[in-house]
Subunit: 599 residues, 2 copies
Amino acid sequence: MEITKKNFSEELPSILEAVQNASFFAMDCEFTGLASDRLIFPFDTPEEVYLKTIDASPQYIVVQFGLCAFRVEPAGEGERDVPPRVTYKCYNFYCYPKGRTHVFSCQGESMRFLADNGFDFNKLFREGLSYATEADEQRFRAEMKERQAVRAAALKAAAEEDANEGDPKPIESDISLIPVPEENQQQIDDTEARIGEFLKSDEKEVIVGNGNAFQRKLIYQMIEQRYLGKVSTTTVTLEDNQKAIKVERKRSPEEEQALEQQRIVKENEELEAKVGLSLVLQELSKARKLIVGHNMLLDLLYILRQFFKPLPVDYKEFKKLTKEIFPLLLDTKYLCTNAEIKVSVNSSVLAHVYDAVSKPPFCIPEVHPELPAHEYSVENDKQHEAGYDAYLTGLCFLGLVSRFKVDLHDPTKDPILKKYLNRIFILRLADINYINLCGNEPTHSRDHVFYVTFPETWRTNDVVAKFKPFGPVHLNWMDSTSAFVTLHNRVASNTVLKTIGYHTGFTIYSFAQFTQMKLQRTGTKRGRNDSDGATATGSEAAGGIVGKSNGQKEEEKKQKIESHGTKRTADEKQDGDPVGGSWKTVKRTRTTFNDNDNW
Amino acid sequence: MEITKKNFSEELPSILEAVQNASFFAMDCEFTGLASDRLIFPFDTPEEVYLKTIDASPQYIVVQFGLCAFRVEPAGEGERDVPPRVTYKCYNFYCYPKGRTHVFSCQGESMRFLADNGFDFNKLFREGLSYATEADEQRFRAEMKERQAVRAAALKAAAEEDANEGDPKPIESDISLIPVPEENQQQIDDTEARIGEFLKSDEKEVIVGNGNAFQRKLIYQMIEQRYLGKVSTTTVTLEDNQKAIKVERKRSPEEEQALEQQRIVKENEELEAKVGLSLVLQELSKARKLIVGHNMLLDLLYILRQFFKPLPVDYKEFKKLTKEIFPLLLDTKYLCTNAEIKVSVNSSVLAHVYDAVSKPPFCIPEVHPELPAHEYSVENDKQHEAGYDAYLTGLCFLGLVSRFKVDLHDPTKDPILKKYLNRIFILRLADINYINLCGNEPTHSRDHVFYVTFPETWRTNDVVAKFKPFGPVHLNWMDSTSAFVTLHNRVASNTVLKTIGYHTGFTIYSFAQFTQMKLQRTGTKRGRNDSDGATATGSEAAGGIVGKSNGQKEEEKKQKIESHGTKRTADEKQDGDPVGGSWKTVKRTRTTFNDNDNW
């Protein structure tokens, strides 16, 4: 069901109810741009990826949010072995910032991609739902209350004044009076007469002063002098965008009060519309139920930032915030790394996963739309519409977990699935390819990984030939003159640097040396973004420290931060590049195979 | 006539011809965002406005460019007193950045405004013309030539190798061979057989290897071993976005050459499409004819930046660049400040100007579309479509100049019009409301202008009352607690600071004091943006220095820059706001009347 400004307030109660009654959710977003992954290295730590990702997606926004609320009917008497009945309500929300000053970024290609896939941007810009962060909403509420308090005080004062004296007097000082130029006198006289007529008539209001700002100024002046206490005025905008003055009879205190009540009701409605889609996300957070996404890292980051709170620069804080807002997340792309699943699922692209789980050994249970308006069908291909993709993600989840015979009444209790909960898949990483929201990610030895640079003319075979004495290797290309080389035979690792042959233009570094260089180059930037030096996480980024106790790690971390802290100022001055540190030459990562992006 | 990717290459020759044959042009743009004018003060210098404007519009782009080419037919024999026949060709270009990495900014409200006025964003994103700056275009051309040179060398080498030996040998080293896992062996064998069949058949090509990246890697390896020298392979993307391998028979050197020629033709066409709309703007620049715009400052700045060159941070350089690219500009909004015109034109909003010049004492000559496809009609209201607005601007120009009986065969020679040429209107300035592209703008005494701050409860009358002893004043509100006050009676100026009454919460500064404060607050920022300290223009911004010789001014300027230079580092650390210096509290400028935005 499509939700825009046109049907939001009408549908909101039933949406909130659907969220409350759901067993689990699937979700998906469409964005105005994707964080660049150009600067992500295959052996980066998840923390580094997090920091690089938030740096590389400054002002992109979610423009479509798809939410599919699945409900698993409780098992009836004697139905223990019967598959449960699953129903769903699927929503496709358009969302777009309200407010004159809101600026966001777009990636040319992202917008074109969405438009090519049938995304209706005209609808988005005209009918997209507003949204607000928690801080925005608080501010809106405070401002509204303040406005209402000011008006209440003014009303009270006016009522008292009304009770105390008769006609208010026009301002005596004539120093501020603008002399009426001759050519304007006729218009002023006419307007004065027109208001006089109006006051004697049954008319409810009269519009005067459709001229320029100066002419209106003169008319306001005339009204203050002649009709103060008799009429109320408001500036209005006419259909042709010209401004004019609406003149009404001075209202009685009781009329003013009634009008004020109407205004308060309207302001509350406007506030609801302004917070808009955030109301749905807030309810989703409150539900504290399982939310499934496919390759959901960006969805998660953008949703937190746009509807809740700014993303912390501290990785641990980010995990804490995520758990507070969404305590149960499952990334089906990460679930696809399960060995039993991988046998039958060739590619973890969403549509390919759906194709794979539609066949044995998987089995997608039948799902029923609660109302026809919520129905999607896989025949009716709407790929890259957030609502459809959320629905498809839900089906993939149901298909994938059928492999483990998960009890759908309580999937998060399943012992296999538990291992995949709250782990968010990361693209392009060689081994530790997820963020663990509920703990630290493992660290692996990098002693068998080497960073090599070589002439631009070299191809895979040239690099591989250099490593011939050490057995088979795996190559991760960085750009046309550098790569990571991983030995299959770890035992050979400690002989490499000593015995590898010399070649002009070829250099080799241990992974530890590489991280040291990286730390020096990117340290600058971290320092710049962190307001609190102690949370600077460049040291975790120097990830090569492995196989040591946590205590040792913490100690090393501190030392690194200190030395890094002293470098900061000097580097900052030299380095003008706000994004890439000195890694300017790195082109799109190419990998030969085992690329976890596209298996 | 609407121009998108669909008809660009077909229409380009006739567009260039229309540009070459035109007598003058009218133009208009639609943008993704408007530079914020929040920080523009009514007594800013034009230079300050320029600098603030480029700072406040970082990544907005032109998404629609309207160009109306008017042609005034030469007067025939004895037609001297007959009004000339005027024809036009009007184009409405959609333009949109090409390329995966291009990021631009949008203002929420701007996009909504355009969508509400019927702008088709779906068309924009899908069919918008590409564009390029001069530097981009040079880079594209260099890259293309380099690619072609590399391919030419490779073709030559292959042809020689072909001539020298028979079958190329497969790589001998088996160190780099990936062992084929058992489960993949069947697929590899099947593919090998399939290619063998293909080579015996009449088929032109065969697609193999639609599996994952690893499977394709194995297939490439098999092909290198078994079919090297017999087939050519290319990676292709199938309809479902899966990748596969296209296998063709090995081409002969002659076939390769013919294919290469086709490729070069295609690359040239692609380059033309990539430079896209910039080709039209380059032609427009080359024409060196009159270009009319209405309120054209942002149009000019965005056009220069998007289709030509980055905007200089030096104001004089900006004027120089503009004159090089567009030597004859006329801003009809500035023309409307002419006293004779102002009598009959109440509002300088484009549509209102059109209404005004459609009546005596003005007379819009009849204009004829050269082809029906170019026709616009004022009845068919398409306001805020760039092409229509360009057409309307042209009609307004024709109407306005009819007041002076300008000879349309050579309007830029008209003595009255000359005074308005190359002067670009600036909104929100109190007096020097234009940029003079061909010289310095005048400086006015500010001795009768005062900057005042006061309690939030004060209204216009409260401020005006303070100035009662000095005669009538004009107020420019800055925010709810500050304003500029201008005395009508300049003679009283020098008594104000000495004799004005004390009031708690009321402070008053001369304009010179105000600029001094402003310089201190905004100095930081200028320093940050200028790479060359000597061009820092904060001192010109301190504009209050008037009635002195240029030599004196230069001297003072230097001193200011120096003292400002020493302050810079200290300020920079304290001041985190990248745009506003310390002027954070300034809200939208309100003016009581004489607001040149809306008269």
